[in-house]
Symmetry: C2
Subunit: 104 residues, 2 copies
DNA sequence: TATATTTGAAACAGATTGGTTTCATAATAA
DNA sequence: TTATTATGAAACCAATCTGTTTCAAATATA
C-alpha cells in the first residue's frame, strides 16, 4: 500500500475533494453529494487522503468533518521547487548569453 | 489508460527519472544504469512520461535522448497555485485579526 | 555483408486500485 | 427503548499498473 502525497493526488476525484474542502470542512456525506460516486467510494478516498495527512478529521458528535491540511500540500511544492531552481538557473544562463551578445 | 501529469508523477521511479534528466538529456540505457530496474521497465516509464509530455525525445542516430519538458511541469504548479491562493487569503484574514487586536 | 547495439512494442503475470455491496458501530431522534 | 442517521471497514470484482520476457526494427561496426 503506497500512501504518499503523489499517489494520493494522482486520482482526479481526490484532487476535486481537496479543492472542495480547501475552503470549508465537510462531512463525507456532504462531499459525496458533489460527485457521482457513492458515499463509500468517497470514504475510501478520504481514508487515503487522511493516511497521507493531506486532510485532517474533526469529530463533532456522530459527524466527521474533513478539512485540508495545507502544510502537507507543501511537500508537493517542495518537490516542484527542485525543478524551479533548474529553470531559474537556465534563465541566469540565458541572461549571460544575452548580455554577451549585447556586448559584441 | 490515464495519462495525465499527476498519474505520471505518482510513481517514485518516474519522479527520479525526471530529476535525473532535468539537468542533462539521457538515453534509456544511461537512465536504466542509475536504477535497479531493467531497461525495458525504464522504457515503459519514459513512454508514459512522453505521452503526457513531461519529457521530450531527441533522436540522434540509433540513440534517443530524453529530456525534461519544463513547461509541462508548470501544470502541476498551476494546480498547486489554487491552494496557495487559499493560504494567502488566510494570511490576509489573519493580518486583519492581528491589526484589529492591535487597535483595541 | 554479417554482427552487435539501441530501442520500442507486444504478451504475459502478479500486485494494486477504485468501486460496489454488505455489515458493524456510534450518535441522535421519536 | 426503538428507529434513524452518519460513518468506517471488510469482502469482493473488474480494470489498471509495473515489471519481465521475448521479439522486431533501425543504426552502427567489423
Amino acid at each position: 500500500m503506497r500512501r504518499d502525497v503523489f499517489q494520493a493526488i494522482a486520482d482526479p476525484t481526490r484532487r476535486a475533494i481537496l479543492l472542495l474542502i480547501a475552503l470549508q470542512a465537510m462531512t463525507p456525506n456532504a462531499i459525496a453529494g458533489h460527485f457521482d460516486t457513492s458515499r463509500q467510494a468517497v470514504s475510501k478516498h478520504l481514508r487515503i487522503l487522511t493516511e497521507c495527512q493531506l486532510v485532517k478529521q474533526k469529530h463533532s458528535g456522530r459527524e466527521i468533518f474533513y478539512q485540508l491540511n495545507p502544510g502537507k500540500m507543501k511537500e508537493i511544492d517542495k518537490w516542484l521547487e527542485q525543478f524551479r531552481k533548474i529553470w531559474e538557473n537556465r534563465f541566469i544562463e540565458l541572461d549571460k548569453v544575452l548580455s554577451t551578445l549585447k556586448n559584441n
